[in-house]
């Protein structure tokens, strides 16, 4: 018996017989498939602001979501009370999506073999709160010591431990204990009348030792402070189409917005994505190979099993420019006759799972990053980003650079402010003419929103050059 079972089975007194009963109830109105998602989430957050730890908070949320599928229909109900009668009631509510006599039997449970991606001795959720507090104080000191022009610093350390148990009427029986820890730093720099901000952060499915041994509070603080100081001297970004070079790592958000969402199977099943029907077609230059990989150890976007109990995978989305596959969950894979890629994710037990990305990145190419920059006459070099957004149907996407520079005559020159990039998903990657040999994954800060549900994700990219993209600044 795993640790997880002991939590839901022992703390909440749930038995395998109960699970059978809940699923039978869920299928009683003729549903074809039903699943139960038990979740027990503990979280901690500590923030430093103006040099003091102003607040610390801890919370617990627990509940169970019951889903019933009938054809393309989904019935869903959830409860935050794990008493049998409450779960049965949720099962009865969700069951009503189907109309007819119950037919589908519940299969014997078979435990899913899961990855072991979180290689930590003890999750940080268990660590002493004082040790976490020390991390934010260290970040505060480091940011202030970086430069006297840093006038404000705010740092947050947050972690959580999510214990899940997913039971499906097809015999699915999967559990996982998913740790997550993250630091985020925001700095404000001021020089005379000019203010600017810089932001950084990172983490993953890691323990507290990650912040002591690998990426320290001092590292994140210096990075945020550095960006804020650089932005003090930034000039207006240009407006119009030009060459754009993306630096390695977090700029991989391009892939997330430009193609990732458009390749989620639900949109393609419904024919509402700009990528619908493009499998086997060229959607990128042949230098581009893009994958979504949920199996990278310790990454923020990685999970041993998805929220439908399926093991995550490494899925090739684009191979040498050709569209290869979609990201799927159980429902879409069944309706489309495609493999389930283990991308069925949800924010919590209150939410219906749907196809979501994990860690989405482009593989390294052959070009040296310096050569890529040297090849640009006049363009933009974007190395850090805020957020982005995509219109799945038209394919148009934007993402906003928080750190970018002009490239003039093959040289990186002035820092830019207000630099938003906009493009069209299905053809943006066809304009990729150079791909660097320097693939990097992001630091572990990404959160993706879809239909009001947030899930942690990762992105990555080597340095790349796009021959043409619209830069949304104000300068001519």
């Amino acid at each position: 018996m795993t640790q997880n079972q002991s939590l839901f089975f022992q703390k909440f007194g749930i038995t395998p017989n109960d699970l059978q009963r809940y699923l039978s109830e869920a299928l009683s109105a003729g549903g074809e498939y039903a699943d139960l998602y038990f979740e027990y989430l503990t979280s901690t957050s500590i923030s430093v602001d103006e040099g003091i730890v102003k607040s610390a908070s801890q919370g617990i949320s627990a509940g169970c979501g019951v889903r019933v599928l009938a054809g393309e229909r989904t019935g869903y109900a959830h409860t935050d009370d794990l008493a049998p009668e409450k779960i049965l009631r949720a099962a009865r509510t969700a069951a009503l999506i189907a109309r007819g006599p119950g037919q589908q039997p519940v299969q014997a449970f078979k435990e899913t073999a899961v990855h072991q991606l979180y290689q930590i001795s003890s999750p940080s959720a268990d660590a002493e709160i004082a040790a976490k507090l020390e991390l934010v104080m260290r970040a505060d000191r480091a940011a202030r010591a970086y430069d006297p022009r840093i006038v404000q610093m705010r740092g947050v350390y947050a972690d959580e431990l999510r214990q899940i148990l997913v039971i499906g009427s097809d015999g699915t029986f999967a559990d996982d204990i998913q740790p997550m820890a993250r630091m985020s730093i925001l700095c404000i720099a001021k020089n005379g009348n000019t203010s600017a901000r810089g932001q950084s952060g990172g983490g993953g499915r890691v323990g507290l030792d990650y912040f002591n041994n690998e990426k320290t509070p001092e590292y994140f603080a210096a990075e945020a402070a550095r960006q804020a100081i650089i932005q003090l001297d930034a000039r207006e970004a240009p407006a119009g189409e030009m060459e754009v070079v993306l630096g390695p790592g977090w700029p991989g958000i391009l892939l997330h917005e430009a193609i990732g969402h458009g390749l989620e199977a639900d949109f393609n099943r419904k024919g509402t994505s700009a990528f619908s029907g493009l499998i086997g077609k060229r959607v990128a230059s042949e230098k581009c190979t893009v994958v979504d990989n949920g199996t990278l150890p310790s990454r923020r976007g990685s999970i041993n099993v998805d929220d439908e109990g399926s093991p995550t995978q490494n899925t090739v989305l684009i191979e040498k420019g050709i569209l290869k596959g979609y990201l799927s969950d159980k429902l879409s894979s069944k309706l489309m006759g495609l493999p389930d890629t283990g991308n069925g994710r949800r924010e919590s037990y209150e939410h219906i799972p749907m196809p979501r990305m994990t860690n989405t990145y482009m593989l390294s190419g052959d070009d040296a990053p310096q050569d890529i920059i040297r090849s640009v006459k006049r363009g933009v070099y974007a190395v850090n980003f805020g957020g982005g957004q995509v219109d799945i149907t038209s394919g148009k996407f934007v993402f906003s650079a928080s750190e970018a520079y002009m490239i003039e005559g093959g040289q990186v020159t002035a820092p830019l402010r207000n630099c938003t990039l906009i493009g069209n998903g299905p053809d943006a990657l066809t304009k990729v003419s150079m791909v660097g040999n320097d693939l990097q994954l992001d630091e572990g800060v990404g959160t993706c929103g879809k239909d009001g549900q947030s899930v942690p994700v990762g992105v990555g990219i080597p340095t790349i050059k796009l021959d043409k993209m619209t830069v949304g600044g104000t300068a001519s």
Partner: protein, 460 residues
């Protein structure tokens, strides 16, 4: 309606009891002050896609949050576990945490004299939202989508029609003796059609109606038809060359611009120097024609409540009057930081310190209809949707992806996409040349159609 009040208060008593019990337990355990919030919510949502029910979701959820002060140290805990053990853990955990946080001279509950609740019926709760049978709710979603699908032959697909309903009760209690509660209902109809032209390229848009009472919703048919109209007009959209032209913002996107003023005027951003409005109180920050108000007291409003997240009555605050910044929006903490008075704008989730939340936040309407404003533009861009979130409140830098229609000789001509509109927010507020007469509250932030000069459109 005595019978009705009876049932309400018996359900209410329970939550009140839990909230006051949590506070008194915290005080007994050593807190010098505390407040607790308890929430109980019910939600229903359905989507009908291509005339078939696609999802049906129904659920209730509860949660409670506790904030304790031990002297000038603060900590908070939250939980969905209402068992005795859960409550003990909530209280014990908060007090443990409060030993570790720093002394913060500004920490504390609001002054006792600031506490209170607006009297009278604020018209926030209507029974009809949940007495409406599920079959009919589904029917509303179906009708909205059907109207969209039938409005134009080019509407060939859909992300569906939706109907959502929710009710929530909230109780706040603190150790100064404040106990307040209110109940709110909400329902909405949406339609998200997809149009396709002869080349196969697709466009999506949406429309919705939201209200606190079912009786106040627009008809599903009108939602479907308007969604279809907004979608079809985007077909054949193209990029235009980069240029500087007057930009007219549809009121849906204008509301999103106005929301940036709210963020910039929020006490948290002000005292942290992370807003371009820091230190600008009493200064001219916008054109003479601009008056912006936050009013948490409007009966039936989406941003209305009898008291804020700390138990301070909501009120009407003039934020900008004829271009002059008159007030920030504050809770008691940010008020203390800035040596000002709270404006009753505390927002309280279950976890952490209260933030700043708006009441009904709006820009005073002007004289002209949107049609008249467009007719006054020789050559310009009418923005109907933003993409992305490109604003930096520290510097005021603003650049967002935009979709809309080109204006030529005062008329809407062809659709435009894959462009950005950019400028500096500080300048944009001074360059609002026209304000529409079409103020309508579709959410807690509302703004009429705006025409702004001096912005850059980046395209080809």
């Amino acid at each position: 309606m005595p019978a009705n009040t009876e049932t309400l208060s018996s359900a209410a008593l329970d939550l009140r009891k839990i909230a006051t019990d949590v506070v008194s337990r915290a005080m007994k355990a050593g807190a010098s002050a505390a407040d607790a919030i308890v929430r109980d919510e019910t939600e229903f949502s359905t989507v009908v896609r291509m005339r078939e029910v696609e999802t049906l979701k129904e659920a209730g959820s509860r949660g409670m949050g506790l904030r304790v002060f031990v002297g000038k140290r603060m900590a908070s805990t939250y939980s969905s576990d209402f068992s005795r053990e859960g409550i003990e853990r909530l209280v014990g955990g908060a007090l443990e945490l409060a030993k570790l946080t720093s002394e913060d001279p500004s920490a504390g509950l609001p002054d006792e004299s600031d506490l209170g609740s607006l009297p009278g019926d604020l018209k926030l709760y209507y029974d009809d939202v949940f007495s409406f049978p599920p079959e009919q709710r589904i029917e509303y979603a179906r009708r909205a989508e059907k109207a969209a699908l039938e409005a134009d032959p080019r509407i060939r697909n859909s992300e569906g029609g939706g109907f959502d309903a929710s009710t929530g009760r909230k109780v706040l209690a603190n150790s100064l003796g404040f106990v307040g509660e209110y109940e709110r209902s909400y329902c909405s109809i949406t339609a998200v059609p997809i149009a396709q032209d002869e080349n196969g390229s697709m466009q999506r848009d949406y429309w919705y109606s939201a209200a606190r009472s079912l009786a106040r919703l627009d008809s599903p048919e009108s939602i479907g038809r308007e969604a279809a109209r907004r979608t079809v007009r985007r077909l054949g959209a193209r990029k235009v060359p980069s240029t500087k032209v007057p930009i007219v913002f549809d009121r849906t996107v204008a509301a999103s611009i106005l929301a940036h003023v709210f963020e910039a005027a929020s006490g948290d951003a002000i005292y942290r120097h992370s807003s371009f409005l820091t230190g600008k109180l009493g200064e001219k920050i916008a054109g003479e024609n601009i008056t912006i108000i936050d009013d948490g007291t409007m009966p039936g409003g989406f941003g209305t409540s009898p008291f804020d997240g700390e138990g301070v009555p909501t009120r009407k605050t003039v934020v900008v009057e004829n271009g002059v910044l008159k007030s920030y929006l504050l809770n008691s903490y940010t008020a203390r930081k800035l040596s000002l008075q709270t404006t009753g704008n505390a927002s309280r989730g279950l976890a952490g310190n209260p933030g700043i939340g708006s009441g009904n936040f709006f820009l005073q309407p002007g004289q002209h209809s949107p049609q008249q404003i467009i007719a006054g533009v020789q050559r310009g861009f009418f923005v109907t949707e933003f993409l992305g979130f490109g604003i930096n409140l520290v510097t005021g830098d603003f650049s967002r992806g935009a979709t809309g229609l080109w204006i030529e000789n005062g008329e809407l001509t062809f659709p435009v996409e894959e462009v950005t509109v950019a400028g500096n927010f500080k300048e944009m507020l001074k360059n609002i040349a026209e304000i529409g007469s079409d103020l309508e509250f579709r959410s807690s932030t509302a703004c009429p159609t705006l025409r702004i000069e001096g912005m850059t459109l980046a395209g080809e």
